[in-house]
Amino acid sequence: MSRPRTVPAVVHLRAPGTAAGASFLFALARTVFLLALVSVVVFTSTELLPGDAADLRATPGADQDQVRALRDELGLNAAPWRRYLDWAAALLTGDLGTSLVNGRPVADALAQRLPATLTVVGGALAVAAPTSVALAWWAGGSGRAKRVSTALLTGGAALPTAVTAAILVTVFSGALGLVPPVSLLPPGAEPWQHPELLFLPVMALALPTAFYGASLLAGAVSDTMCLPHVADARRRGVPPWRIAATDVLPFLLAPFTRVTAVTGGGLIAAAALVETLFGYPGIGSLLVSSIASRDLPVVQATAVLAAAVVLIGLLAGDLVAALTEPRRRWLA
């Protein structure tokens, strides 16, 4: 038994036997369609809130006529689909709107916080990718301890990110006192100037991702180990490291790319959690705080951008996987 049968479905999105070109066009169409769908969901979700921008912006004590005039001025009386199209068109041309809370352009707020999020997500990916390969190698290749390794990966992937973060804080900050429990950046400082503040957020993001990625990859590793040419090389007495480098790893490149794309998408969502928990000033904590304060333009722009990054990552992963996949027709 390798993995729950539900899992590889995420990894092998491409139907076996489809040509790479057609499959890429299909994936591109899927990305565009999903992005449009996300924008509709985001817009509808924010529309469902009682009250609108005119109520929020009107000076306190303004009477109904003034609010109505403001509503006209802001174009809020138009049909919902009309306002959706206007909003989406503005978004596409790079106009992300202004914050309802502080009146600053949303694009400025995002640009200011982008480096912090990139640092922490990039760091997490750099830790998680090699760790997940190592874990998958151990779980997919081990013969006798297979049940133990499978149980460990299943358990590790099930642990909520918040729990991992709490355990890390309790150990490294509470018990050992090595790093501060919150990662507030001093004003004007760049995140990479304070590695001690990055440790907890990066590890809290990387560990669950590594386990989840490994649990997705372990099946591919154990499948590859069973391929005829690997068994053949083993019988010929080729040293294990050479089998790993020339016979196994090339076959893992495509699944690895897809898994990285899928887990990378999860990382972007999890960054919202980890940044908020550690008080780290990134885009994720901006999204959460603007959801809490109902700052709709910020929520809309941030959510659509996050979804776009996730979907483009998946698309890139699909493309790279299609290009690097060795001919494995005999597997089907």
């Binding site: 899927r30 642990l159 900050s173 018990a175 959460v288 809490a292 979907l311």
Partner: protein, 283 residues
């Protein structure tokens, strides 16, 4: 103890442990020695007699709050998991039985939903709707597609099996074959799947609570406790460690239980020579 006995012990102890943990999580409120919401001492007090895990940020009893803090989280997650599993199973039954265009369009719709992380879904929906609705929608969107795929494959394989052909020859109606022949044969698979959905639902629900978008203070809630007590971790680490361990043990045991159900399901298929078998179970 030989290896086989160790494996049997492990696969027996996980369900028992999981049942115990679920019982404590769901009904622990009744066993709490103190009020989970009333301040009983100074903030961040260490363990002392009567307060086995000390106090939290507002001086409330951590032990009572841990006992009371799983019910709401599990209730919401279970509702969400059942919704996802039912929708996915019905979709999978239809897709697997009718095949062709029905199957392709259902699978395509499911794959579309899979592309986005559940947590992002939940965050967007939580803008306007109550948090439990957000958890349910996110779990259904992120989980039902996976259930659909698993059930579809199993149904497709079961279509050609002896008991289904016998029912077809008896002239039974499709709905009755699916409900009385196919579905009971897949109960192990669907139970395991429900467990996996529950784990994801717990992850989403706890994430929303940690972000302050879920259960409202002063409600005792494991995830909310993590958020409230993070800053005092150096003074009373139990206030963070206890809810973290409770939530962690619950999710890990549920995931292991689902894994065991899957293995048992596959083993029984090998024994019965069921044609629905696709992968051999390991020894």
């Amino acid at each position: 103890m030989n290896r086989r006995a160790a494996v049997r012990l492990a696969s027996l102890s996980v369900p028992l442990l999981a049942a115990g943990v679920l019982a404590v999580a769901l009904f622990g409120q009744g066993w709490a020695p103190n009020s989970p919401t009333a301040p009983l001492g100074a903030p961040w007090q260490g363990p002392s007699p009567g307060l086995p895990l000390g106090t939290d940020a507002l001086g409330r009893d951590v032990w009572s709050r841990v006992l009371a803090g799983g019910g709401g989280l599990l209730g919401v997650s279970m509702t969400a998991a059942v919704c996802a599993c039912v929708i996915g199973t019905v979709g999978g039954l239809v897709a697997g039985w009718f095949g062709g265009l029905t199957s392709r369009s259902l699978t395509a719709a499911a794959d579309l939903l899979l592309a986005l992380p559940s947590l992002l879904f939940a965050l967007v929906v939580a803008v306007a709707l109550p948090w439990y609705t957000a958890v349910i929608i996110a779990t259904v969107c992120g989980g039902a597609p996976l259930t659909l795929r698993v059930v579809r494959d199993a149904v497709r394989a079961a279509r050609t099996s002896g008991y289904v052909e016998a029912a077809l020859l008896r002239g039974e109606a499709t709905a009755s074959i699916l409900g009385r022949e196919v579905l009971p044969a897949m109960r192990g698979l669907v139970t395991a799947d429900l467990g996996l959905r529950l784990v994801v639902a717990l992850q989403v629900a706890s994430a929303l609570s940690v972000l302050g978008l879920g259960a409202a203070p002063p409600a005792p809630d494991w995830a909310l406790m993590l958020r409230e007590n993070m800053t005092g971790v150096a003074i009373n680490p139990w206030a963070v460690a206890a809810p973290a361990v409770a939530l962690g043990i619950t999710t890990v045991l549920l995931a292991l239980l689902a894994q065991i159900c899957l293995t048992a399901d596959r083993t029984s298929r090998v024994r019965d020579h069921d044609p629905a078998l696709k992968e051999p179970a390991d020894g």
